[in-house]
Assembly symmetry: C2
Homo-oligomer: 338 residues x 2
């Protein structure tokens, strides 16, 4: 068996791998939320000075990358590869960010699981001795998502109570071997899982089975249980998806509730900010990780977390064709070196 494979779907980096720096960029509503004071850069202009929302998403990624480079005192030419993707059709947020920069790019599509997916690949790459400086990055934008997945904003469509609010934001993390105290110690690959949910306005519940599958597999593969973690953080299940996940674990006799939190419930004050079931989007788990979570790991307030990016792999076409919503969840175990 491959020497760095643990159990069924988990691996550990071939050599110790650290998240050395991180950066977050967020929009107005996120700034007004409970984590607002923690983001590196924010803007109250929904277009971030660009002409379109799609280009605003590019701008947010550019700002996240630039901030990351400033913090790490690296230049663009020092970067060996950027793993990134977003929700826009053909991931144009990510590709236009890196256009003509000369930075090697691996494009990903994992919907809202992209931050975890990119971290997982970055850990594999750094730990395998393939590259020195690796960036994991993603973004999402409320307005470009609404237009692409739902209704034109000007139409004024009503949101159902189970709907979530796509986060406007971008997060980026720098992964290197042995540089820093925050280590990626293992990661569990996700499988495409669904229980047949077809309501595209209830994505939290559609993704919960994938989160359950990955978290349970991580426990099995690494011989751990909820009590071994300070926090198990899902990407963007929102309040309803989180409840569904707790229920799925309870059915198996596992009590996960006390350790579980969700980036979609952390990023907004749901009742006050009228976001219904919470935040969502690639940017949701990205900006929560690249502010609150990594800061708390750095300061020692958290020592070991399981960061579980959750993605709904639907498209407007698959919904129109009455197909269910497949989910995926990649799990990354992040620990503070003792």
């Amino acid at each position: 068996m491959a020497q760095n494979k643990i159990g069924k779907r988990t691996f550990r980096p071939g050599e110790p791998v650290c998240i050395s720096h991180w950066a977050s960029v967020a929009g107005k509503k996120e700034l007004e939320g409970p984590l607002g004071h923690q983001f590196d850069r924010t803007s109250t202009d929904t277009k971030f000075g660009e002409k379109t929302w799609e280009q605003a998403e590019k701008r947010m990624q550019q700002l996240a990358l630039q901030t990351l480079l400033e913090k790490s005192q690296l230049k663009e030419t020092d970067l060996d590869v950027v793993y990134s993707g977003d929700l826009l059709n053909q991931c144009i947020g990510s590709s236009f960010t890196l256009r003509n920069t000369g930075i090697p790019h691996i494009g990903l599509y994992g919907a809202c699981s992209t931050m975890a997916e990119s971290l997982l690949l970055a850990a594999m790459t750094a730990g395998g001795g393939y590259a020195d400086h690796i960036v994991a990055m993603t973004s999402s934008h409320f307005a470009s998502s609404e237009r692409q997945y739902r209704f034109p904003l000007g139409y004024g469509g009503q949101r159902t109570p189970t709907a979530q609010w796509t986060v406007t934001g971008s997060g980026a993390a720098l992964i290197q071997r042995r540089t820093g105290k925050i280590e990626i110690t293992s990661a569990t690959l996700g499988t495409v899982t669904d229980l047949g949910i077809t309501d595209a306005a209830n994505m939290g519940c559609a993704m919960a089975p994938a989160a359950f599958d990955t978290i349970r597999t991580h426990f099995d593969d690494t011989h751990t249980a909820p009590e071994d973690f300070d926090l198990i953080v899902t990407g963007d299940l929102g309040s309803l998806g989180k409840e569904a996940l707790i229920y799925l674990f309870r059915r198996e006799g596992i009590c996960i509730g006390g350790k579980l939190t969700d980036c979609g419930t952390l990023v907004f004050d749901a009742p006050k900010q009228d976001v219904h079931a919470g935040g969502s989007g690639c940017g949701c788990s990205a900006i929560v990780l690249c502010s609150e979570l990594l800061s708390k790991l750095q300061s020692g307030k958290l020592k070991k977390i399981l960061f579980c990016g959750t993605g709904a792999l639907l498209s407007p076409t698959s919904t129109q064709q009455k197909l269910p919503i497949p989910g995926i969840c990649h799990g990354v175990c992040i620990e503070t070196r003792r």
Copy 2:
């Protein structure tokens, strides 16, 4: 420096990595082309027995995966990860293929560079000891692409002389350590590159600068020249993009023409099949690699090739917003063990 990094953007797998098996699935027009007799499975039904073209793409990937498993005598549960992506919005061809199979999935978006991108990551993963059985896979479909990127087929839009014809097909390759005689010896990561071309009906020329950049970097990083390869194969530049690439090399005093071929020119008989500048799509380089190229490497007719997947990272939205067409090209060096 990372021990498996070579030069600026190239790496070699940590341990020897082989392409042990491969499979190809193709449609009617591809069956009628020069390589038609080489594909494992073909269908003259554009929907491959499904209700929609998008689901046909899923079906092609399922058939490619199934054929690969049959050839390698493996079961789905033996697979550690499938790296795959496609051209459909949100990559629904790939995610629905793996839905509820229990097979770990990393979703990619590299447009038509996806076959090379997935091979590159598979080589990294196998060579790093992270997994035992890895599949690299992709697909495209003429009808779903036309509808999504251009016009509804029923509209009967005229194609310009520079246009290419999206291949209907899927290719899959199995990557393992030390099992077989066909080895991935190095790979060069692509950068997002364009020279400002905005004509979405001339994607070959839009992608040529990215191919030039990656191939030249591969030569530099590995201290090789065109004469060190039996063949340098680009993904889907078509006849015009190929000419542009030859021109870009000639400008630097490098004669690449004699070694260069392009999957888009191999898969169809362009004048006879009325495909204008040649084939394109993720499936184009995938089915040419997973038939003609790997067969010739297996039989020893080819000994060393540089397989360069080329992708145009545009979207209909970026075109409508009058943005240029960024290209990317990932290069994978494939050799027959001596």
